[in-house]
């Protein structure tokens, strides 16, 4: 049922694109394509954080997701496996569109469970060039979006924050693929109008009918560093139970979902 709806929406989006698409619709589709594929999903993930001097750090984790509503609230569980000294470190996120997310953290070596409150979501995700927000999705309502132009392949959008004090960018622009609605390139500009941060999709694969980002890259043009995020063995619509995403999972991560399906 849901798939049919998706296809319908997709087709309608395509036809709209041809005839001057509503910006809100493009943003909505892009948000769904990027963060809401399937009703739930899992993937192995690896981050390679590279600095300007080519020093590398690695983070490996499994990410589980369950949507409560398409385009709406979501649950995430991130369980680290490497480096071994952070093994079994767990993040649990209850993402909420209408209010601040609920976030929890478990640090096994300290046997410590904590609730985390953050002033904003533009903090580094575990030391990488990805922001927390890049992983969980930025609320589409935080910015004013404008369709600048389009060609056969992309919609070109420019977005400006409604509350400029809450973010470090002045604006960002996106190249949204017309076929998949995945933003293939996002560039953030500072007050001077210089691009200082770039998010690129490097590789896309079809997974159970969903165009899925398999590899993406965030570059920090100021520090000269970048982070590669690679996904392996993604799977959707696995029928994950709700209790996978409760604080009980912090100490006892759901082993069955952590392994490749």
């Amino acid at each position: 049922m849901k798939t049919i709806l998706m296809i319908l929406m997709f087709v309608s989006a395509m036809s709209n694109a041809a005839s001057g698409t509503d910006v809100a619709m493009i943003i909505e589709r892009a948000n769904l394509a990027s963060f809401y594929a399937g009703d739930d999903g899992r993937s192995d993930a690896r981050m390679i954080i590279v600095d300007a001097k080519d020093n590398k750090q690695m983070r490996q984790f499994v990410i589980l997701r369950k949507d409560l509503e398409d385009g709406g609230d979501q649950r995430f569980l991130v369980v680290f496996s490497r480096p071994s000294d952070v093994k079994n470190t767990v993040f649990l996120v209850h993402k909420k569109v209408a209010e601040e997310d609920d976030r929890w953290l478990y640090l096994p070596a300290l046997d410590l469970e904590k609730r985390i409150s953050a002033s904003d979501n533009r903090t580094s995700f575990v030391g990488s060039d990805f922001f927390y927000e890049d992983v969980s999705g930025r609320n589409t309502g935080y910015d004013e979006h404008q369709l600048v132009k389009e060609d056969e392949q992309y919609f070109y959008l420019t977005s400006t924050p409604k509350d400029p004090d809450s973010v470090e960018f002045a604006e960002y622009s996106m190249h949204i693929d017309k076929a998949t609605f995945l933003p293939m390139l996002i560039e953030y500009r500072d007050q001077q109008g210089d691009v200082y941060r770039r998010v690129e999709v490097v590789e896309v694969a079809d997974v159970q009918g969903h165009a899925t980002v398999m590899k993406s890259k965030v570059s920090n043009l100021k520090t000269g560093g970048y982070t590669l995020l690679e996904f392996r063995r993604p799977a959707y619509d696995l029928g994950m139970e709700d209790d996978v995403f409760t604080i009980r999972s912090l100490r006892n991560p759901p082993k069955n979902w952590l392994n490749a399906q």
């Binding site: 001097k53 071994s84 000294d85 640090l107 410590l112 002033s119 533009r122 903090t123 030391g127």
Partner: protein
């Protein structure tokens, strides 16, 4: 030979003028290529191990040059009030926008993260001061936050809450002048109740460069003017004294042009070349001209008078020029490149001045109109007031030779005592005058904060044992696999890099692995690689971090440092907040994994890269950032010595490689090099000059005699420095060798002339009487020219110039005086062996 030269010169005066003019013009054309170098780091050769290490550390830990902006609020409330903080935020936000500022590393209350408790079981991460507090209550809350963060407390806000700072990292320190001006504009445009100060080494260096231009543009021409006026006083003939001025100008231009053309930068030392050469260059001319005036009568054959004068003076002039240049050339033995360049080019300049004098002055004198020389008849300098005093001095010395000698022995003894009291110390910020804004800022900020002077204590863990262990644990299959992987890799990779490389390969293969066997094999290998990596990551282990804490404690106990910051502070702070925020939780987690997980939280901030200022990504090397309230080399030396002793007494620390970096430390290094190098150059100059004296006079005794006045003079000056408590710093150090070369001139002229006169008259009393007529007058005239020639340095904007000016003038005066008193006395006492 010089006869022929003089003949040639007198025959072709216009050719000489043309050659001198072309040479001067050609070198003058190179001067616009000038490049100013104000980096104190260049006091050390680029290949100096400490300097190389310092720069490696800077690179490895992403440490930038910093401009420090400080805001001070003297009121009882201090800096924590809405108005001050509003202004600070505005200033910091605008500074962040300046081109050339590394915004992501800027440190200010508004640009760093806070971690606080938010109810039970919840911690909150947020910008410390994203928006300014609206009321006093929130300002006080902010104060309570900062007081809890050891990395910020007393670094970003002073312990007394009176001052706050903004650390502005800049990409290129050559831009610091523009950036600091932009900062000043921003400060001026923001309404704030606080006093703002700008300091930091890059600003100091840049300001310094500007001041150097001022010095060269004002002091050097002033010196020229001074010399001109003096010569006017001596000769009262404009056309006549134009000649030595031309010689001096050409010398300065050719030397500066040659130096710049050869690609040498103009450093604090070489910026003084002009002012050094100017007085020295006219000295030979004064000798020729004085003698010419004595001997020339209207209507006399000018050509033969000139030839006679040159013949008389050639040898003493050659020798004094060589000895002076030896003094400067000896500076090339110091291991300080700017001092070497200075010594080399001043030495060269002195020789050049001699050559120019020998060829240009006769050529000039021969073409001068007869009428231009008529006024010279009125001058007979042996009748001047100065000469009268000199004459009395000579009579006194001869009459009381034993008393004079005894006096000098006592002076010598007191001087040596003074030398023992000399304090070796320097601090580039003190090169500015007391009331200079940089000095003021330096003083004010260091009064409040734990120190704006940085030194870095760098610790590296032992890798060899880890490697040996790792290699022993490998199975044959694993070994094979690793060597296979290494086959294509860069063979120069170290063990650490190899581990990373292998790990990436293994991870890659595992990420894509499908068969269970493959997976388990790879996982085993990864396990072993990880063990090795964990062992290498010594500063992720509680025991490694504990060593940092112990070292920091030792530094604190020494009472010599304001504050130190390390990775252990980061870990303990985050751990405390994770554990509920109580003070007793300010401790290290029990395990390495605990540390790793704590740091993972720290990295989930707005500024994850801050971590890499403290530790390398493999955690095998770490930096303790030491803040000092003084940039004095002496204070840095005390810290280094204290820690060396501490390390020697702590066997556990022997396992680690511990080294210093940071500009404050580098300053100490070049200071020590300077002292040792100056000793060497003084000693060698002394020996060379002594040998030359023995050769010149063909007498060991006269050689020794010639060395006596300058030995006493130098001892006296340094004794004086010791007694006055003035620090023995760079300019003072440089003085020793070069004064040796300058002050021996007086002795050469005195002894040479005394021997000539004695040979003529065969009577000691007559000789001395004649000596204190013309020759002593010429000597004292020269001393006056050089001494006064250096006095414009007293008006220079920078302290080292003033020091050099003051001491050189003093040295010239003292050494002329000593020569004129000591040599007659000694000659009288040693009459039997000397003049007989």
């Amino acid at each position: 030979m010089n006869q022929k030269t003089t003949d040639f010169v007198l025959d072709h005066p216009r050719l000489i003028f043309l050659v001198v003019l072309l040479l001067t013009l050609a070198t003058a054309a190179l001067i616009p290529l000038i490049q100013i170098d104000t980096d104190p780091e260049n006091m050390l050769p680029e290949s100096q191990s400490e300097r190389v290490f310092h720069n490696t550390v800077k690179q490895r830990f992403n440490l930038h040059d910093m401009i420090v902006v400080g805001a001070v609020n003297g009121s009882a409330q201090g800096i924590y009030n809405p108005e001050s903080l509003q202004a600070l935020l505005s200033v910091a936000n605008q500074i962040e926008q300046i081109k050339g500022v590394i915004d992501y590393d800027l440190m200010a209350l508004s640009h760093v993260d806070n971690i606080v408790q938010e109810g039970p079981g919840t911690i909150r991460f947020e910008w410390l001061m994203k928006k300014p507090p609206q009321d006093q209550e929130s300002a006080d809350l902010l104060a309570s936050y900062v007081d809890r963060l050891p990395l910020l407390n007393n670094t970003l806000v002073s312990a007394d809450h009176k001052a706050t700072s903004i650390y502005v990292p800049i990409a290129d320190k050559n831009e610091s002048h523009r950036i600091s001006q932009d900062i000043q504009r921003i400060i001026d445009s923001v309404k704030s109740p606080d006093d703002y100060h700008i300091t930091g080494l890059p600003v100091a260096e840049d300001t310094f460069g500007y001041q150097m231009f001022v010095q060269m543009g004002i002091s050097a021409p002033l010196a020229g003017l001074m010399i001109f006026l003096l010569m006017w006083y001596f000769f009262k003939n404009l056309k006549f004294i134009a000649a030595p001025m031309i010689v001096a100008m050409s010398t300065v231009i050719v030397v500066m042009g040659a130096m710049i053309g050869m690609g040498y930068t103009v450093h604090i030392m070489s910026s003084m070349i002009a002012i050094f050469l100017m007085p020295i260059a006219v000295v030979d001319s004064i000798h020729i001209m004085s003698e010419f005036v004595e001997k020339y009568q209207p209507g006399a054959n000018r050509r033969s008078v000139i030839k006679e004068v040159i013949a008389d003076l050639f040898k003493p002039m050659l020798f004094t020029s060589i000895t002076s240049s030896v003094g400067f050339f000896s500076l090339m033995l110091t291991p300080i490149p700017p001092v070497q360049v200075f010594g080399a080019f001043v030495g060269f300049g002195i020789i050049l001045a001699f050559v120019l004098t020998i060829v240009f002055i006769p050529a000039y004198l021969i073409v001068l109109k007869e009428s231009s020389l008529s006024s010279l008849q009125d001058i007979h300098h042996s009748r001047s007031r100065l000469s009268g005093a000199i004459k009395k001095l000579g009579q006194f010395s001869v009459a009381n030779s034993w008393a004079v000698t005894a006096f000098f022995v006592v002076v010598m003894a007191i001087s040596v005592w003074g030398i023992m009291k000399i304090q070796i110390n320097d601090n580039p910020v003190r090169w500015f005058k007391q009331d200079h804004p940089i000095r003021v800022a330096d003083q004010v900020l260091n009064e409040h904060f734990a120190g704006t002077y940085d030194a870095y204590l760098v610790l590296s863990s032992n890798q060899q044992d880890v490697q040996t262990d790792f290699e022993q644990q490998l199975t044959a299959v694993q070994s094979d696999r690793l060597s296979q992987w290494s086959a294509g890799a860069d063979p120069s990779l170290g063990f650490k890099e190899q581990l990373d490389d292998w790990m990436n390969r293994a991870e890659d293969e595992l990420f894509d692995a499908t068969s269970d066997e493959q997976i388990s094999q790879l996982e085993d290998l990864i396990g072993q690689l990880e063990v090795a990596q964990q062992q290498l990551a010594y500063f992720k282990s509680p025991s490694g971090l504990q060593q940092l804490i112990d070292l920091q404690q030792a530094l604190a106990d020494s009472g010599l440092v304001g504050k130190s910051n390390s990775l252990a502070d980061v870990v303990r702070t985050v751990n405390r907040e994770l554990q509920g925020g109580d003070a007793e939780q300010f401790r290290l987690p029990a395990t390495q994994a605990g540390v790793a997980q704590t740091l993972l939280q720290y990295q989930s901030s707005h500024r994850p890269h801050d971590l890499w200022h403290f530790v390398t990504q493999d955690y095998s090397e770490t930096v303790i950032w030491v803040q000092l309230t003084s940039g004095d080399n002496q204070d840095m030396t005390a810290v280094v010595d204290y820690l060396d002793e501490h390390i020697a007494n702590e066997p556990v620390l022997a396992e680690l490689d511990i080294n210093w970096a940071g500009k404050t430390f580098l300053n100490k290094v070049w200071q020590e090099e300077m002292v040792a190098g100056m000793g060497m150059s003084l000693l060698s100059a002394f020996v060379v000059v002594f040998v030359m004296m023995v050769l010149l006079f063909r007498s060991l005794l006269f050689g020794l005699l010639a060395m006596l006045p300058l030995t006493l003079t130098i001892s006296f000056i340094y004794g004086l420095i010791g007694w006055l408590g003035k620090d023995y710093d760079m300019p003072i150090a440089v003085l020793s060798a070069l004064t040796l070369g300058l002050s021996v001139d007086f002795a050469i002229h005195f002894i040479q002339r005394a021997r000539d006169l004695f040979a003529e008259h065969q009577d000691f009393a007559v000789t001395m009487k004649l000596m204190f007529a013309e020759p002593a007058a010429a000597i004292s005239k020269n001393a006056v020219v050089i001494a006064i020639g250096f006095t414009p340095l007293l008006f220079a904007p920078l302290v080292p110039y003033i020091t050099v000016g003051f001491f050189l003038a003093t040295i010239m005066a003292v050494s002329a005086l000593v020569t004129l008193m000591m040599l007659p006395a000694m000659l009288k006492i040693l009459n039997k062996w000397t003049l007989r």
